[in-house]
Amino acid sequence: MTTLTAATRTKVLQRQGAAVALILMVTVSWLVFPRFGSLDNLRDLALQGSFLAVIALGMTFVIITGGIDLSVGSLYALGGVLAAWGSQYGFLAALTLPLAVCGAIGLINGLLIARTNMAPFIVTLASLLFARGLLLAITDEGATTYQIAPDSAFVELGRGTVFGFGYPIFIAAALCALGGVVLNRTNFGQNVFATGGAEQSAVLMGVPVARTKIGVYTASGTLAGLAGALTAAYLQSGVTVIGVGTELDAISVVVIGGTLLTGGMGTVLGTVIGVGLIKVIQNVINQIGTLDSNYQSVVSGVFLLIVVVLQRMLRR
């Protein structure tokens, strides 16, 4: 019975640890900083978080299979540039072009990882470089920034609001809800868990491991492209310099949200909470003003460390 209580403790700490931290952070911030609780600030917070949440959603699936996707930062930037370039041909082009191209790169990642047994780390590192190169190639080495006509329907996708809350927030929320259902209530989701939990056993249990891996990397690439498109719509241009290190932010929030980096266990809700936590910390540090914004990454790093050490301790 000791194993059970230990497991329950692990579950509580892993599943709820980030949530408890988030609630604490929000409560304290609300009390200490009058501006924090303002509707404007909360709307902004949610909007900023929604782009990262879309990327982190894909990363959650990848990490649960025991893999990692370093290419999402570059794909995020590439998606934005493609959307801005495509917007001259209309709404549909602006949306489908980034999804198709980034999805295709994700698919190639998946094929290389699943079919040739190369390490996910190195394959996606190569596509990080490749996607950045592609971005530079279509922007005259970064010299051209494609603008999106302010009155186009595509801009509405990024800037439109409901009760002041931006469309991207709803898109991210819908996708995360869908992701949760796919993960927990479909065969594909079960295969994702089995692949990451014990790959050899999964093969013996008849799980299509290769297909599952190809699926998650394709999804991760597509979602990164979508996040880029939404960001471009919001900024009304395809900014070329974003996304550097975004893959690390995505990995961090997934891990902080309680998903095991070794695979086999994780939740979409945890990732969403992880995004919230990082964004609130960022927001608060900005509010303090006297504090250097560089503390953000220090705090993220420390959080990450605590979570990983705790996970390790509790698994013993």
């Binding site: 990692i68 290389l112 040739t116 047994n117 190369m118 390490a119 780390f121 190195i122 394959v123 590192l125 190569a126 596509s127 990080l128 470089l129 490749f130 950045r132 190169g133 592609l134 971005l135 530079l136 190639a137 080495e141 550097v244 690390l248 990995i251 961090s252 891990v255 980096l261 070794t262 250097d292 914004s293 560089n294 503390y295 953000q296 990454s297 220090v298 705090v299 993220s300 790093g301 420390v302 990450l304 460390l305 990983v308 050490v309 390790r312 301790m313």
Partner: protein, 310 residues
Amino acid sequence: MTLTATRTRWLQDNGVYVAVGVLLLFNALFTANFLTLGNFTTQLVQAAPVLIVALGMALVIGTEGVDLSVGAVMALAAAVIPLYLGAGPLPAILMALVAGLAVGAFNGFLVARVGIQPIVATLALLVGGRGLALVIANGQLVQLHDPAFLALGTDDVLGIPISVLIAGLLALMVAALTNRTTFGRQLVAIGGNRRAATLAGLPVTGVLVGVYTICGVLAAISGVLATSRLAASDPADMGLLMELSAITAVVVGGTPLTGGKVRVLGTVMGVVLMQLVRATLIKHDLPDSIAQMIQAAIIIAAVYVARERR
């Protein structure tokens, strides 16, 4: 079957040398002003910091690990230098190296003692380390004026720039460490078969902590040299994405990510190859975009060839 196996094996072992040879030949024939002393010096000076980091990375990868924090360590070293430069260049350099040593030892502790996967343990420091460097430096770029310190980046001995000399010396030292010392052989054995190494009574924890510490110190040395050459402490950009360049060079140089083997000369050649690729593309006015895509292709090709070892 065996013929292909032999050929694959040969390619794994010598591919990087062939590639460097081909690129040199190509440039000698088709690139204007390539075969000049000045050009070679420039190329080597540019490659030196990556090489120093890659040497440490090769050791870590030899133990079946990886160190993502090297770029952050370079930034930390850069941030520390102006704090102590008032006391003279030596204390400043020393403190920078201590910072690298501390981060490396901490990584080693997390990996060997706590038992966290290397990729995760060092990720935390990659995220937090650069932030810490920026906090230390108040997010500022600081111009440096100490002539003795700047000499590190500008002077040369018998025509060889100091940074290149240091990189070369360190490469020799790491080669000797790997091949001629107890520590080096234990490191390779642990990477090759950890269970057997444990059963043979090897000090697994100690060696792992040592390897990550060496990697941290080497990254700090690289940060010091790069800072001196820049004549400024720039923690925001110092060593950005260095972890990726270093891993690339090591892997392209024929050290397998699965551990159990450290190829020091291969790593040197891996760094030279990536530098040559970049230089060739620039000299032929090929844009950065193409350069990055070609680098991606080289990485995939190198790993694909190496993958059949087993």
